[in-house]
């Protein structure tokens, strides 16, 4: 179809494949950092730290549940049924990719297929050598997947839906991390937060070790060059949406899918860095809502296809 149009069902699947792989990657980074901190620091309240993890990932915990590392690994890492767990996201991505094999490159499909088949073996390795093996494997496979997408797939509409999914998931995840930090600053130090976003090294190169805490929020939210910052992710998402629907428009923007993303990017870009700390709670809750709105608007705009018809016989 010359890359200009795409079956709606396929567009939806590829968008979610992008989200799931990114989610697996982000979750793996987050949990890796958390677990190593818990193991490394004597006397930390590991129960509280685990509770914070569940909170960030939006996985409900029944009150009074004892939380420890094993529960985290069981429910947030190895659980194949939950789309919030790493295994669940990867398997979800693989199941989606299986339905769009003719659209993505076969190397991308093979990457996800092999990953899904290897998870059991990686889990066994993790039980022997510690969870880091598993988490690193997931990160590497995600990087491989998106690398293959960049280098083996035409940068057409299908690719844009993939990148769009990845970008929105990334913005959402960074927002979740910042929100968690706000609600429990003592459990989540700045270095941990940065590492969980894979941003620690970039941040230090940009601002140095001595930088004050407010710089971290600024970096994760507003940095235009760091690919995991919210502004960067939103700008990428907006580019994809603009390319998906390039209408000649003289006044205003008549694209309901693009509007929430563009508005939020503007809001963030023109936020006053000096007042960022004060505005943070409001910005973050807007950010979370927008990620949900944007996903719904995209679904309404692009993923409308017939629901199966049921036939009734007369008499």
């Amino acid at each position: 179809m010359n890359g200009n149009e795409l079956l709606s069902r396929i567009a939806e699947t590829i968008y979610w494949t992008g989200r799931y792989v990114e989610r697996a990657d982000d979750t793996a980074r987050l949990i890796d950092v958390y677990i190593h901190r818990m193991l490394g620091e004597a006397g930390t309240d590991s129960g509280a730290a685990c509770r914070a993890l569940f909170g960030i990932l939006g996985v409900p915990v029944a009150p009074g549940t004892e939380l420890d590392i094993d529960v985290v690994l069981f429910r947030l890492v190895f659980e194949p049924q939950s789309p919030s767990a790493i295994a669940g996201s990867m398997l979800g991505a693989r199941a989606g990719a299986r339905g769009i094999r003719e659209v993505i490159s076969s190397e991308m499909w093979e990457c996800l297929n092999v990953t899904a088949h290897s998870l059991a073996g990686q889990k066994r390795a993790a039980e022997r050598l510690g969870p880091h093996v598993y988490l690193r494997y997931v990160r590497e496979r995600s990087a491989l997947f998106f690398g293959l997408a960049d280098s083996t797939m035409s940068h057409d509409d299908a690719w844009r839906f993939l990148v769009l999914g990845r970008s929105l998931e990334r913005a959402d995840m960074t927002a979740r991390l910042l929100l968690a930090r706000m609600s429990a600053p003592d459990d989540l130090g700045w270095p941990v937060l940065l590492r969980a976003c894979g941003a620690h090294e970039s941040f230090i190169r940009t601002h140095g070790w001595a930088a004050e805490a407010s710089r971290v929020a600024e970096f994760l939210l507003l940095d235009r060059l760091f690919p995991r910052s919210v502004v960067h992710a939103l700008a990428t998402a907006e580019e994809c949406l603009a390319a998906l629907s390039p209408g000649p428009v003289r006044a205003g923007l008549d694209d309901p899918a693009r509007r929430p993303v563009g508005r939020l990017r503007n809001l963030l870009e023109y936020a006053d860095p000096k007042q960022l700390t004060a505005q943070l709670p409001e910005l973050l809750s807007t950010l979370q809502e927008t990620c949900v709105d944007a996903s719904e608007a995209i679904a309404r705009r692009y993923f409308q296809y017939q629901t199966p018809v049921a036939w009734e016989r007369d008499g």
Binding site: N4, L7, S8, R9, E102, N113, Y305, P308, W311
Partner: protein
Amino acid sequence: MEQPLSTLGVVADIFDGYRLAEAWDEMFAAPGKPRAAYDALVSVLQPMDPAELRYRADQLARVFTDRGVTYDYAGEERAMPTDLIPRVIDAAEWDLVSQGVRQRVRVLEAFLADVYGPGRAFDDGVLPWSLVVTSGKFRREVAGITPPNNVRVHVAGIDLIRDEQGKFRVLEDNVRVPSGVSYVLENRLAMTRLFPALFSDQKIHQVDEYPARLLAALRAAAPPGAADPFVVVLTPGMHNAAYFEHTLLARLMGVELVEGRDLFCWRNRVYVHTTHGRRPVDVIYRRVDDDWLDPLHFRPESLLGCPGLVNAARRGTVTIANGIGNGVADDKLIYTYMPDLTRYYLGEEPVLDNVESYRLDDPDVLGWVLGEAGNLVLKPVDGAGGAGIVIGPRATGEELAALRAEVRANPRGWMAQRPVALSTSPVLVGQKLAPRHIDLRPFAVNDGADVWVLPGGLTRVALNEGELKVNSSLGGGSKDTWVLDRGRTAEPLETAKDKLAMAMPAAATAPELDPLIITRQAGPDQ
């Protein structure tokens, strides 16, 4: 035939202990005597360590799992079991096979055009019309629809077997939605990657032309007026046994893979929903059975097809490939008339014979078949995938009794054949080679101007000892199938490399890696 093959008493080789079965062996004319076509292959295989072969076979399975080359078996994805030892067909023999297959496809086309058109053969008394209307696969809904380029059999899979004398015979015709071509493509790809040594000094016909041929045939079949025909592959979805094949063909042809829910009909035109609104479809290569294709005309509860397809086809705005109602031609009773139909439509003698078969419409024949059921093969006329077939000599008394009752009640639903010992080929079992029965399904593509036969086709293997049914739904596997080119030897690799080297400038290297520059920069310090 009990003596083991052994060569000159040197180290035991992998063919030691290979005992020929009571059938035509594809590789060996006699113990230790490979057939001419297999000379080169046997000389490469012979010195190999069985453990090495086993290792490669396991790698092969691994590659298929990783690539997702699977079929759905009882709701579970399984890697198609592929045997490491190729099946070889020499050039002269292949000429005969491809000629026979092309002839067969031309007859099937003529017959279908006749059934859904004028019906000359019935007026002329070649076969009774009652046979057509009693066929479960006849679709009167498409009578009178003439496809744009008169092609109904865009793709055919003609199943051949080799009998005890080594003669190829047609076992059955498949002109509905024949599957398996993806394994031909994947087998070859995997074998060249994993076992390049096998291919040395042999010139083998390539198979990768298939997708281009198929696409050309589908485009040629488009309704007139479609300047750049929009072709889609219609799949029942991920849970279909052949889903892998559907994705592979769509990908290799560069067309969309659609499901029923992606399609809709409006004013006798078929469209797909896209991110940019609707787009009209010109050709549907459907891998959905007739029954499920159009709930308006066939099963009303079907969600796999799209209501209105038949009307659009009748209106001539869309081509459905393969044609609806083709199943009447691969009905196993019609099969018994194929030699007569060949003479009637083409005025030619059949190139490939059928397996000796018996129709049960004559009470005398029926009586004889019922008596001899224990020595015959009985097949339901509209079965696919080996379902329902009873091999008399293998059946128990109760099975035969049940069969007799069923056949007596519905003689139109059955036909009988002489049991043929399918030819055997060496298959790696554990670390040993053992003979297993095989068949051959060549694939033919008809673009309206010519029928093209994919060199080789799918060799299916019954992996259990003595088993005669090769269907993947019954635990069968497959083999890479080689058709030798007349040239036989390839250009030596070294010459080919030299030619390439002459055409290419040397690769560029980064400046740091260039020793000259390093020397120059180091200069002033010394």
